[in-house]
């Protein structure tokens, strides 16, 4: 059962990821990225990481992608506004990406000392109850600091998004 689900989800993720890259229209890219995120969320569920599954859907597929979509709409971009890169650059870029994947797989082959390769899906570490405990005991300080990061990010975004007085005058 689980290999089938894994394969299905994996294929959906890869295909939609490809579509993200190759879609002409950025809106299509956004939509297919959402699909990818959902399939990744599915994989999380497969590994019994329930908390991350929820967060993935809410934060990524929900909040972040909405933000992207929002900005796209705001700037009113469409497919034909984006100029294409030169073919030479495309070839070099694809080649280097390919080389990178080659190296990754090579690394995997050489460094394959995994031992028990099973990824069990019947464990409790991914549950909200368990993670919450760890988060608020061992990782309390990072957690609080991350809230400061959010605050900083918020301030930064507001500051950047605001028109400077000079601009508004002109």
């Amino acid at each position: 059962m689980s290999p089938t689900i894994f394969l299905t989800l994996a294929i959906i993720a890869v295909v939609s990821a490809m579509f993200v890259v190759f879609a002409k229209n950025p809106v299509h890219s956004v939509l297919s990225l959402i699909v990818t995120f959902f399939s990744i969320a599915g994989l999380y569920l497969l590994m019994n990481a329930q908390f991350l599954f929820v967060v993935q859907i809410i934060v990524y597929a929900g909040a972040i992608m909405v933000l992207f979509l929002f900005v796209l709409m705001l700037l009113n971009l469409s497919a034909d506004t984006e100029p294409q890169k030169s073919n030479r650059f495309r070839v070099i870029a694809s080649a280097s990406a390919g080389l990178l994947s080659l190296v990754f797989s090579a690394g995997m082959v050489i460094d394959a000392t995994m031992g028990d390769r099973n990824v069990t899906n019947i464990q409790e570490i991914g549950l909200v109850k368990h993670l919450g405990k760890v988060l608020f005991t061992d990782y309390l300080v990072p957690f609080e600091i991350s809230s400061i990061l959010f605050l900083a990010g918020m301030v930064g975004a507001v500051l950047l998004g605001k028109r400077t007085p000079k601009e508004s005058k002109s």
């Binding site: 650059f89 070099i92 870029a93 280097s96 990406a97 990178l100 190296v103 090579a106 690394g107 460094d111």
Partner: protein, 628 residues
């Protein structure tokens, strides 16, 4: 007196300070009087010191303070008045005060009057340091000090570029000699560990002959610079750019004799190495002849006197060369009298002529300038060695000593003295006799100089006449070699020299006097009876032209030394400095720039390229980690 020794140089220094600082505001009379009186005061003090030395036979010495102490070496500012120094001191302050007095009249119209007296006082101070120091260091102080004063005084009329050039030339040529002297001092210091005369002389016994010769030659290089000997003599004739009293004081009577003083002072050293003395003798002889030849065809009254000075200094060096130190000192003294006299006389002439110095434009001045004429005549007779004048005795003594040493040198020196007689008389007759050849204006303007100028002339004339009796040869009168005896205790002679018998000495004297008389008569005939005058420059041919142009030595030096150095300077700056060294430094900078330019293509500012490089970088890192 011993404690007051320091006052002797200090008085002129005080005069210098007062005149130099406040002179501008003081009236000219005060400046002149002050300048003269301080030197005269020094003269009185010197006289006292002289008497005391004579009385006791002991040298006076006084240490003022320690100049510096370093690495076990101690240099003192210490003064010494022995027989040799007192003689020099008397000449310097005596003639010095006369010349100061003369300058009051000579310079009274000059706006730099106070400056002139300040410089003169400074000069007297330096010169006194030179002769009074009890060590070579103080001698060197004075040595350079007089060089500086000479520079300042030659360039006294600083607005004239040519004069400035002459001053610089004098200073630089002196400096070449100074370097030699300085190196000599270093070697002495190395050997003796002190520059005090006493200690240096005491240590000579352990000095090797080679080193002694080396030191002797180096000191002599210094002497050639200061005393204008071949090859460093060319500055002295140019130094005539200075005011005439300066020429009389510095470039005839005192400063230029410093070289002789130095060698006499180091006589103990030189007597160890007769070979070096030989060299000194030949250099002196060559200078005496060479300068005499040039003087024959000079028409500037001061230039003639200048070359004559060079030539006479040559005589003195010949005397030193044959080891006759006291004879050299004798000639130094008499020469100081008659040459100062003649320079001052020429000053009086120039004063009367309104600045004209060319003897071709003079003539017949005897009628208008009676005192000048008479005193000048005395000077001329003295220099040509007219019997019983001071020059007669001193020159004769030199000739006798040289004959003792080598008859050939004697012959050449006799020739030089004949040449001297010729050019001096030529100049004398052309100036004072015959008819006036200048402009009408000048003739109208002719007048005798004021008393402040003629008084020194008269005093010096008396000295020039009688100065010879300081040291009348033994064969004439027993026990009359006063100067010789006087200097005996401070001078060390080369041992084992034989003496001439009296008849030879009489004969030598006879030959020299006869020669002088013959030339006197013949020049009188040529220049007075036949009224010949000096030829114009462009009529001269052959050797005469060479003589007139000073054998082109200046031009030679210029093309051999000055021009190449200037060329190297330009070349060095433009090619070596700008080109090679700076070029290579800049090349490093440039190559970095070029490499930077090449690499800049990569940094094209485009973010996506940076991303690509990043990916490639990660790729290579991973390859490095996993594959290699």
């Amino acid at each position: 007196m011993e404690k007051n020794l320091i006052l002797i140089p200090l008085l002129p220094l005080i005069g210098f300070l007062i005149n130099g600082i406040f002179g501008k505001k003081l009236p000219k009379n005060v400046v002149g009087a002050l300048g003269t009186l301080v030197v005269f005061g020094s003269f009185i003090l010197s006289l006292l010191a002289f008497l005391e030395v004579r009385e006791s036979g002991q040298a006076l010495s006084h240490t003022a303070f320690t100049w510096m102490q370093i690495a076990g070496l101690k240099f003192d500012i210490a003064f010494l008045a022995d027989q040799l120094s007192t003689q020099m001191m008397l000449i310097i302050t005596g003639i010095g005060s006369l010349i100061h007095l003369y300058s009051i009249g000579y310079m009274h119209k000059d706006e730099g009057f106070y400056k002139f007296f300040a410089y003169l006082n400074l000069f007297i101070f330096s010169m006194l340091l030179l002769v009074m120091g009890s060590n070579y260091l103080l001698l060197f102080f004075g040595w350079e000090g007089v060089g500086l004063c000479s520079y300042l005084l030659i360039g006294f009329w600083y607005q004239n570029l040519e004069y400035g050039k002459a001053a610089r030339k004098a200073f630089v040529m002196n400096r070449i000699g100074d370097l030699g002297l300085m190196l000599g001092l270093f070697m002495l210091l190395q050997h003796a560990g002190s520059l005090e005369y006493k200690e240096v002389m005491a240590s000579l016994s352990t000095l090797s002959t080679e080193k002694a010769a080396c030191i002797g030659l180096l000191l002599f290089v210094g002497a050639t610079g200061k005393s204008a000997q071949i090859p460093l003599y060319t500055w002295l004739p140019d130094a005539m750019a200075g005011p005439t009293p300066v020429s009389a004081l510095i470039h005839a009577a005192t400063m230029v004799t410093a070289g002789i003083y130095l060698i006499v002072r180091s006589s103990a050293l030189y007597s160890m190495v007769p070979e070096v003395l030989e060299i000194i003798g030949y250099v002196g002889l060559a200078t005496a002849l060479f300068a005499g030849l040039i003087a024959i065809r000079q028409n500037d009254i001061k230039k003639v006197l200048a070359y004559s000075t060079v030539s006479q200094l040559g005589f003195m060096f010949v005397a030193l060369g044959v080891g006759a130190y006291s004879t050299a000192m004798f000639h130094l003294t008499t020469h100081a009298f008659f040459k100062a006299l003649m320079f001052l006389g020429s000053g009086s002439v120039i004063h009367a002529m309104g600045g004209e110095q060319d003897i071709r434009k003079m003539g017949g001045l005897a009628k208008k300038l009676k005192i000048t004429h008479l005193t000048f005549l005395v000077g001329t007779l003295a220099i040509i060695g007219f019997p019983l004048t001071s020059g007669f005795f001193s020159k004769d003594e030199i000739l006798a000593k040289v004959y003792e040493h080598s008859p050939i040198m004697w012959g050449l020196l006799l020739l030089a003295s004949a040449i001297t007689a010729f050019y001096m008389l030529r100049m004398f007759f052309l100036t004072f006799h015959g008819s006036f050849r200048g402009t009408h204006d000048q003739e109208h303007h002719l007048h005798e100089s004021p008393i402040s100028m003629t008084l020194p002339l008269m005093v010096l004339a008396v000295l020039s006449l009688a100065g010879g009796f300081l040291n009348v040869p033994e064969f004439i009168s027993e026990g009359s070699e006063h100067l010789h005896t006087w200097l005996n205790s401070v001078v060390t002679y080369v041992s084992g020299r034989h003496h001439l018998d009296h008849s030879t000495e009489w004969m030598l004297m006879g030959v020299a006097s006869a020669l002088a008389l013959i030339i006197l008569v013949s020049t009188y005939v040529v220049y007075v009876s036949k009224k010949s005058t000096a030829a114009e420059d462009d009529q001269l041919t052959g050797i005469q032209k060479w003589m007139n142009n000073k054998f082109y030595i200046d031009e030679l030096y210029q093309s051999v030394v000055q021009k190449p150095i200037e060329a190297i300077s330009n070349l060095g700056y433009n090619i070596i400095d700008r080109g090679i060294i700076d070029g290579s430094v800049n090349f490093i900078g440039k190559s970095v720039e070029v490499a930077g330019n090449a690499l800049r293509r990569i940094q094209n500012g485009n973010v996506e390229y940076y991303l690509l490089y990043m990916v490639l970088g990660i790729f290579f890192l991973l390859v490095f980690k996993f594959v290699l």
